[in-house]
Amino acid sequence: MTFNERLLALDRRWVFLVLTIFVIIPIFVKFAVPLSPPKEVRDVYNFIEDLKPGDYILISLDYDPGSLAELHPVAMAMLEQCYAKKLKVITLTLSQTGAQMAEEAVRDVADSCLVYHGFKPVPGIDYVYLGYKPYPGLIILGMGMNFRIPFPQDYNGTTLDSIPMMRGIKNYDNIKGVISLSAGNVSDMWVADGNGRYNVKLAFAQTGVGVADYYPYYQSGQIFGIIGGMKGAAEYEYLCKNPGTATDAMRTQVFAHAVVIVFIIIGNLAFFLGRRAKARTQESK
């Protein structure tokens, strides 16, 4: 086997090994990754920044532990931004396995506000966590009629009517917008049922894999912003001036992308050199 042929038939475990090494290095070697948030990320940030204290916003934490790395940092930064602006934050999750993760995020960020902003948002007055209910499409439709249809109680079993901030809040007409953090098809349901049926103002945070699917909705105006992948999460943290896990993880992403690019270049070089060698062999015959 020639060198080219060996390269082309390289055992994928070598690729895994090299990638592993270059993913570990940034944990010890720290450097800043320059970030330039694009318009679609700034639109989400500016939407929240333009809201006034007392305005209601719904943040749907529709991600599961698998997409924790990309979406949890957005959730943390966004919740802190909303609490700091003294918005009334309604949170819920449409992800079956994300209910506790979401509840911990909502609570932990509220606790951290005491340290960073000098006050602690009060559950029931400044924020409420409704919990999880199955069948996302039905929940989104139900909330369009009345939040109490899918969520007669919050996550802790308190009826919505006895929660101070939910009195008089009926449905999407009473909130300024919805931001869904999702890794899957829940975003499609928000567009079809939330925006399509009830005309709710909508933005998404999506994983890197799925974000390209939602640009048509951004361009048509059905959603007003998208935060995509780890890069989007880091850009949002940058806008919030709240560098967190996504900003740290960008170092790893830079190295990982560089490794993949190098391997692609090596593969193509081997391919072209091999083709040239074959052509020469055939010519000499």
């Binding site: 994928r12 007392g54 599961d64 698998g66 079956q96 396995t97 007055i125 400044d126 009345n146 101070p164 901030m165 009195r167 008089g168 009926k170 007409d173 890794a183 899957g184 098809n185 994983t207 894999v209 799925g210 390209a212 699917d213």
Partner: protein, 413 residues
């Protein structure tokens, strides 16, 4: 004496608790504060009321002309308050605040609740009266009043006329092409390489003595892609029974599992080998995406199937499945309607059905007139959509006319 002290302490604690409760509730919007009139703005004019169209009979559309002081001078209007009552002469306490809009807005859709025990109940077919106040800084105008108006059920949503037209056109095209197919007219369907490769892939599995893995994806039985996949599963099961090889069908949803079991059993029965069907070959794994893909990957690595067929609804796990199949040396045929996953399947699988090719597979395989007719109707509808897109684009580019948005600009009533 001690009883007097006890009584005093009880009263004090009651007063304190009331004060605390009042303070806790004070972060709610305050009850209607008495507005101190000094220089009230001019009221809005020309208040008109009508039944809110396209609703469930519990809504009224309120429109007015802006107050002359809207956004100008010391008597500047900040917002408009809209009130509703069952009688024009009702005392102020019986006028319910329906809503508030900011300056510059001259309409409000009062969508009340339909439950009579709800605070915001808006009764149907009952005379209602409205007042609209222009609100300034701490003052408000005299009311612009109007009424009576009644709310009625609406039996057709006029905003959905385009969808209705689309449905009617589609039905007409479908019926026409089904009739054509029934009359024996040949309706051309281009070859789908992925479907044609299935027979060859099953043959390969038989030669190698290895099973076939059929993955229906992570959708539910209500997903169109999963339903389309059932059709192909039936045919694969029949072929597998004919060739006397085995198949593994891991399912993520219990209902999908039930339907898949019926489909595979029927496939074996069609091939005349009902006894060869093993119920445990079609099984439920888990309802979660990544645990499911971990289980299927484990099956692929252990069983080393000769052929992997991934047809249905897939998300991020598509590449995990496909790469594991490559590592196991399987031939792979994939198809999904999830556009974001198509690149991964194209890269890692031998054959890929793109988007609606998966839906067309049932018509392609069966060649039944009913299925072929709907497929052709679909194609013609796509052509119509293409023509409309170009026509509207040309209209917009050359004349600037915005035909699509204008009818839907709020408030359209």
């Amino acid at each position: 004496m001690k009883y007097i002290i006890l009584l005093f302490l009880t009263c004090l604690s009651l007063c304190l608790s009331q004060a605390i409760l009042a303070q806790t509730a004070s972060s709610d919007p305050p009850a209607e504060a008495a507005l101190v009139p000094s220089e009230p703005p001019a009221p809005p004019g020309n208040l008109t009321l009508k039944d809110l169209p396209n609703d469930d009979g519990h809504g009224i559309a309120v429109k007015w002309d802006l107050s002359p002081d809207d956004g100008a001078g010391a008597k500047s209007v900040i917002s408009y308050d809209i009130y509703r009552s069952l009688s024009p002469d009702a005392p102020d306490s019986l006028w319910k605040k329906a809503g508030t809009v900011v300056l510059g807005v001259k309409s409000y859709a009062d969508k009340g609740n339909r439950e009579s025990d709800n605070d915001d109940y808006l009764p149907k077919k009952t005379n209602l009266y409205y007042r609209v106040y222009a609100v300034g800084a701490g003052v408000r105008s005299v009311a612009a009043a109007a009424g009576p108006v009644q709310a009625y059920d609406n039996w057709f949503n006029t905003l959905k006329v385009p969808e209705l037209i689309f449905c009617v056109v589609f039905l007409i095209l479908t019926v026409r092409f089904i009739n054509m197919a029934k009359r024996g007219i040949d309706l051309y369907v281009r070859p789908l390489a992925g479907i044609e490769a299935i027979d060859e892939a099953i043959g390969r599995a038989t030669e190698m003595g290895k099973p076939i893995l059929y993955c229906l994806g992570i959708g539910t039985a209500g997903d169109i892609a999963t339903i389309a996949s059932f059709t192909i599963l039936g045919r694969v099961a029949r072929k597998v029974a004919e060739y006397q090889t085995s198949m593994i069908v891991p399912c993520i949803d219990p209902i999908v599992m039930t339907i898949a079991q019926e489909t595979v059993k029927a496939g074996y029965a069609d091939a005349g080998r009902p006894d060869a069907y093993k119920e445990d070959s079609v099984y439920y794994v888990t309802s979660q995406q990544f645990p499911y893909v971990a289980a299927v990957n484990g099956t692929i690595i252990r069983e080393k199937p000769a052929t992997n067929i991934y047809l249905g609804y897939f998300l991020a796990e598509s590449l995990l499945l496909a790469e594991t199949g490559v590592m196991a040396g399987s031939i792979q045929i994939a198809g999904t309607d999830q556009v974001s996953q198509l690149p991964f399947f194209v890269v890692a699988c031998d054959y890929t059905l793109l988007g609606e090719e998966l839906y067309a597979a049932s018509a392609y395989l069966g060649r039944e007139p009913l299925l072929l007719g709907t497929l052709k109707a679909q194609d013609y509808l796509k052509a119509i959509a293409l023509v409309c897109i170009f026509a509207l684009l040309a209209l917009r580019v050359f004349t600037g006319a915005d035909v699509i948005h204008k009818p839907f600009d709020m408030p359209w009533w």
